[in-house]
Structure formats: C-alpha cells, structure tokens
C-alpha cells in the first residue's frame, strides 16, 4: 500500500468511525425528547424509562463522538497539510460554527443528564430540545465543508493564488443544501431503525412488554416518515450530481457510453476494461428521468471523461446500489409494519416483522457509510473538485502505512470498549418506578 492510499484509507476509517457516533448524536436526542414529551403529556412511566435509558447511552456515545472528532481535526493537518493550507482559510466558517454548536450541545447535555431529579419535568424536557437542535446543527455545518469540496465556491484563483475569499459564499456553496438535508435525514433514519431493531430483538427473545413495544412505536413512527423523505432528498441529490459532477454520476450508475433515453441499471458489475456493465437489469429511460427530470435527455458516460479524471466505478456503483437498496427496503419494512397495525387496529408485530427489523438494525448505518463512499470516491481524483488533486494534497511524511495500522487498532479498541459499555447499560433493568423487589428479580433476566 502506498502512502497516498494509506492516508486515504486512514481518513476514511476515521470518518467512517466518527460518522456513526455523529449520526447517533444527531438522531438519538430527538427520540429522547419525543419519549420524554409523551411522558409529560400522558404520564406513562414507560416513556420516561425509555428517555432515561437513551440519555445514559447517549452520554457514552457523545463522548466517543467527541474523541473521534478530535482525532479527525488533527488528521486533517497531519494527513492533508497541502489541502488545509489551501482550504483552511476558505472553509473555516462551518468548522467554527460546528465548534459553537458542540459547545451548546455539551452544556445542555450536562443540564439534561444531571438534571433528572433536580429540574421540574417540564424544564428538564425543555433542556433536551437544544441538545437535539445543536446536535443536528453540528452535522449540518460540518457537511458544508465537505460540500465545498464538491462544489468549491467563495474565492477566485488569480495567477495560481487564492484571492477575494468570501467565507460566507464558500459555506453556502451549491452542493450544501442537498447534502446537508440528505445527511440530516440519514442520521434520523439510521438511528430510528437501529433502535427499532434493538428492541425488536428483545421482543423476539420473549420480552413482549409495553416497554419494548413503545420503543418500537416511537422509532418506527419517526422512521417511516424519514425513510420516505430520505428517498425524496436522495433524488434531489442525484439530480444535482448529474448536473454538476457528471463523472461521479456516471460512476454511480456504471454508465460508460453517453446516451440519450438512458436506461436505469439495477445491480451489475462495471468492467472498465471492456467498458460494459455486466449482469445488470435495465429499466428503459428511467435514468434520463432520474438524472434530468425528462425521459429523453442525454446522460454523460465515463468514456467521455478524460481517462485520468475518472473515478472508480467498481467502488462507486456498488456502493450507490447498496445505499439505494437499503433505502427502499427501509421504506417497505416500515410501511408494512404500519399497514399491518392499521388493519389489525393494534400494534402486535408478528414474528417475521420482528425478524426483519432485527436484520435491519445496522442497515441505516451501512447506508450512511456507502453514501459517503459514493460522495468521496466518486469525487476522485479530486480532493477539491477540478481544483486540487488528492495526490497533491497528501502529506510528504513517509510511513503512512504504520500510522494507518496504529490508528485502526486504536479505533478497534475504542469500538470494542464502547460496545461492551453499552451492553452494561442495556443489561440494567428499565428505570421504571416499580417496587424494589421486582427490580432485583429482573436484573439478570
């Protein structure tokens, strides 16, 4: 593995690790606030117990998110000094704002965690709202930096020098709205289906009680809405990419020849040697429509992109298919769940539904990872689209492979330890206000 490849893989590993905690950091507070809100309105202790349990888990996840975020902010300088030298002075604003959002989040999270018995129920609930908002803002802000890499804006290059920097214009670049929207929704999608899956697992193992059912109810109510919005916003993203990053779009679709009336390929393995997409199913004209909004318009293929500016379709196409496949599956499963509940006029998920939910526990997170692979690998060889190549941005320090190995190990330790901790939290009995003898018998069930 060369130094460039090692550095890229290290960046991807770190971000891929961080993004999981970032997504939960955006999604879980929303569920917490909803659960506590229902408790405020109905007085049902089950919802309070859920909110408490989630806040406990969130405290751990938040800390891991902050630590891994710290690592990334160092890595930007350690791995990509040339990139930061160029871009730091242009895209600093979203990063500063993210820091600010994190500040707010941390303060209110402190109040929330230490205030369970000290604040009035209403004040406590209110203190959770800024946590949810600031968490979402962190993600939305930081995506602006990534969007800028896709559509650099807010500066002029005069004789090879960056001039007329306008940080506000850089932040409000044209890729930001779609990317931020899609990521924001993705965080909720991933978290809700993750939670639903965990509690479905509990029900499958015989704990068919109000506690588990309520968790699934909250998660899937939000989940169904956001999974549908996810597809809508994904379509908006795709149209933007088709317009602005034709090379990435061609790689996403595995399209080699520029064609009008282009068909949508489902599945398949792109082979750059022969310039064919093998084993795919084609839906006539659908691609032209998805890309440009009408059934005939031309879609650019990889063959019309200069050879040294083509991203790798063997990575981008499968990753894209995986994300969309998961997105569709999530919509189907959550709709099925509510349809059955609606017909039976009661929420009593059957065995197959529970199994499907359990199987989809990590799906949202996998889709997030896949989506980022599409965005990042699809942008190659550029680190800043049409401006700077990744190979020119990388550090000249040798021995990146060793550093990559070391950090991967470190993240693995962190991951194992986090999972172990979360299991400890999960194995405690629900914090319901029940007589103490009952609690004790519950402990190891």
């Amino acid at each position: 593995m060369g130094d460039l490849m090692a550095a890229r893989t290290q960046m991807a590993t770190s971000l891929g690790f961080h993004i999981i905690f970032a997504a939960i950091g955006m999604g879980l507070p929303l569920l917490m606030v909803i659960a506590e809100g229902i408790h405020l309105r109905t007085g049902n202790p089950v919802y309070l117990a859920l909110a408490k349990r989630w806040s406990k888990a969130f405290a751990i996840l938040f800390a891991v998110g902050a630590v891994s975020g710290t690592v990334i902010s160092f890595e930007l300088g350690l791995l990509w000094p040339r990139f930061m030298e160029y871009a730091g002075g242009i895209i600093g604003m979203p990063f500063s704002l993210e820091g600010f959002a994190f500040f707010v989040e941390a303060i209110f999270l402190g109040i929330y965690l230490y205030g369970w018995n000290r604040l009035s129920p209403r004040a406590h609930w209110l203190s959770g709202i800024p946590v949810a908002i600031a968490g979402a803002c962190s993600g939305i802000f930081v995506v602006a930096a990534n969007a800028w890499m896709n559509s650099p804006a807010g500066f002029d290059v005069v004789n090879g020098e960056v001039q007329n920097v306008d940080p506000v214009a850089a932040m409000f670049n044209s890729a930001w709205p779609q990317q931020a929207l899609h990521m924001w929704i993705a965080a909720y999608t991933a978290t809700t289906f993750g939670i639903a899956g965990l509690y479905a697992w509990g029900m499958l193992r015989g704990r068919r009680d109000a506690y588990h059912l309520s968790a699934i109810k909250i998660a899937l109510s939000v989940g169904m809405v956001v999974s549908i919005l996810q597809a809508v916003s994904g379509d908006i993203s795709a149209k933007w990419v088709a317009e602005n990053q034709p090379a990435k779009f061609a790689a996403m679709e595995g399209l080699f020849e520029t064609t009008d009336n282009a068909g949508l390929a489902i599945g398949g393995w792109p082979d750059p040697e022969t310039g064919e997409l093998k084993y795919a199913v084609h839906i006539p004209r659908a691609l032209s429509f998805l890309a440009h909004g009408n059934f005939t318009e031309e879609v650019t293929g990889l063959n019309d992109i200069p050879v040294d500016e083509r991203p790798e379709p063997r990575v981008v196409h499968p990753a894209f298919q995986l994300m969309v496949g998961i997105g569709v599956t999530l919509i189907v499963v959550s709709t099925w769940f509510w349809l059955v509940a609606w017909r039976k006029r009661a929420i009593v998920p059957n065995r197959w539904q529970l199994i499907a939910l359990v199987a989809l526990t990590p799906a949202g997170f996998i889709a997030i990872e896949a989506g980022w692979v599409v965005t990042e690998v699809g942008r190659q060889p550029w680190i800043i689209q049409d401006i700077m190549r990744t190979e020119d941005a990388v550090t000249e320090v040798p021995g990146q492979f060793a550093a990559f190995g070391g950090f991967t190990l470190l993240f693995m330790i962190l991951a194992v330890a986090t999972i172990w901790l979360l299991r400890l939290v999960a194995s405690e009995p629900p914090m319901l206000d029940v007589p103490s003898e009952r609690r004790h018998t519950d402990v190891h069930s």
Partner: protein, 312 residues
C-alpha cells in the same frame, strides 16, 4: 516600557484569541492531565482515596475541557493555514502520539469508571489512563518547544527540516517536562481546594513538591532556551518579555506561600495567573513569529475576510 513594538492588526488580534484559548486549555485541560499524573503517583496509606478523589473531581467535566484544544486547532487552520500545515508535517510524529494519548485517556477514564465490578479490567484501564495523562502534556510541550526553537524550517511552504530533529533536542524536551510538571502542579493545587482532612494534606505536600520542581525545571530551561531557541531568547530581552519573569517568580512564590499557609482558594487563583503569565511572556518573546523563523503573523494569516468572520 512594557508596551512592546507589536502591530495591533487583525492577525495579531486573532493570534491573541488563539493564545487565550491555549491558556484556558492549559489551566483547565492541564489540570485534567495533572489529575491523571497524580493517579499514576498515588502512594501511601490513602492511595485508593486519592485516586477516587481525582476521578470524582474530573468526573463531570472529563472531556469538556478538550473543547479548548479543538478551539485552538480550528482557529489555527482557519486563520493561519500554513502554520497548521507546517506543524502537521514537521511535528507529525509527536502529534500522532498526542492523539493516541488523548483517545486512550478519554476512553480509559470512562471505561474504568464503568468497569467498577471487573477488577482486572479496571486496573488495566486505570494504568492506561494514568500513563496517557502523563505522556500527552509532555508531548504537547515538546511540540511547543520545537515551534519556538527555530529549527522547523519552512521554505516555499515545504517543511525542509525533517521529521525528527526539531523536537528531539534538549530545549523542547525541557519544555515538555515543564508542561508535564505544570499540569501536575495545577492539579495538586486544585485538588487541595476540593478535599479536606488527611487527603488535603497529601495533596498539599504534592503541590509544594511540584511547585519546587516547576521552578527548578523552569530555571534549567532558561539557559537551554538561550542555546536552543535563540530568537525567542533575544525577543524576550528586546520586547521586555523578561519583565514577566519576575512576575512569574512572584506569583510562583505567592502560590507556594498560600499553599503553605493553607489558603488554597487564593493559591488556585495565583497559580492560574502564574501559568497565564508564563504563556503570555512566551508569546510576546516569540512575536512576530508563529513558527520561528519562517512563519509570522503577517505572512501566514488567511485573508482579512476570513479573519473578520472568525472574529465574529
């Protein structure tokens, strides 16, 4: 007089804010590290209680103080991008180790707390926490020393001085030790405020010991600075930065006196002032350099538009 020949412009103001962030990190995050150091050195009949007290004091804020580190990093790469790039390259090795330290420390602290019923796990995480707490400030100090040494050369925005020699030198190592001890010192003083009775006596003794060590290493690092960081040494005399040395000595003595006479709250304030004064003096002596001798406030600053935004 004590108004040095600095130009108060936008880069300078942002540099000062950066310095403020570093100071706050030093006196808050530094004490967190220091807590870990005393955990490592917990001895005597009350070793267990000492460790518990340290964990309790760090508990509620254990990661919040890192915000100041992030603040400093973000400010550096937004306002002085070439500095960020040069540090990331020249100090690659120690900074990677700093990262390892921060990650392991943060993780180990929580995991130790939650692993209360699993004794071997708790031990292992406890050791990790303590060792990482000691190593990280040492490495950060090492980096600061290297930045001041004048041995990091940046020519045409390429680092030409290699990846080892600037920080593997007596002066950076002395500064690393100084950083390590100042963390221990601050933590011991703070812990005196938080404790009572015999435990307080333990930490009082430690504060006094650390104070002496701090003064000793500080004194040793002066001649090393003369040789190892000549620009900063000269800057100190030219810009009256030396005036801060007597101030530091006075505050240092005052802290010791306050600890001796058990006025711990006063000691805490004076100790913070002492550390802040030292850092301000350093920054003043190093002016106009951000990385001696090639990057200055003037030539490393981002555009005014960015700086204005960052200011808001």
């Amino acid at each position: 007089m004590f108004i040095p020949d600095v130009v108060v412009d936008l880069p300078f103001i942002l540099g000062s804010i950066l310095l403020l962030g570093v100071i706050i990190y030093a006196v808050t995050g530094g004490a967190d590290f220091g807590g870990g150091i005393w955990d490592l050195l917990a001895r005597g009949p009350r070793a267990r209680e000492q460790k518990q007290e340290i964990a309790r004091a760090i508990g509620p804020i254990w990661e919040a103080n890192h915000v100041w580190l992030i603040f400093a990093i973000v400010l550096t790469f937004t306002c002085f991008p070439p500095v960020f790039a040069a540090i990331g390259t020249a100090l690659y090795v120690p900074l990677v180790l700093v990262l390892v330290g921060i990650v392991l420390r943060g993780a180990a602290f929580v995991f130790r707390a939650y692993a209360a019923d699993v004794i071997p796990a708790q031990r292992a995480w406890g050791h990790t926490f303590a060792v990482a707490s000691a190593a990280t400030p040492f490495l950060l100090g090492l980096c600061a020393g290297a930045v001041a040494s004048g041995d990091i050369r940046v020519i045409d925005s390429k680092v030409t001085s290699g990846y080892f020699s600037p920080w593997l030198a007596p002066f950076p190592i002395a500064i690393g030790l100084l950083a390590l001890i100042s963390c221990a010192y601050l933590a011991a003083v703070y812990l005196c405020v938080e404790t009572t009775g015999e435990l307080q006596d333990d930490f009082r003794k430690r504060a006094l010991g650390a104070g002496v060590a701090f003064a000793t290493i500080g004194t040793i690092s002066l001649p090393l600075m003369w040789r190892g960081a000549p620009e900063v040494w000269d800057g100190m005399w030219e810009r009256d930065g030396w005036l801060l040395i007597p101030v530091a000595i006075v505050t240092g003595l005052a802290t010791m006196y306050a600890v001796w006479t058990r006025r711990f709250r006063i000691a805490r304030i004076v100790a913070i002032v002492e550390v802040a004064v030292l850092l301000v003096g350093w920054a003043l002596a190093q002016y106009p350099y951000l990385i001696v001798p090639d990057l200055t406030y003037g030539n490393a600053a981002a555009s005014d538009a960015m700086l204005n935004v960052a200011l808001v």
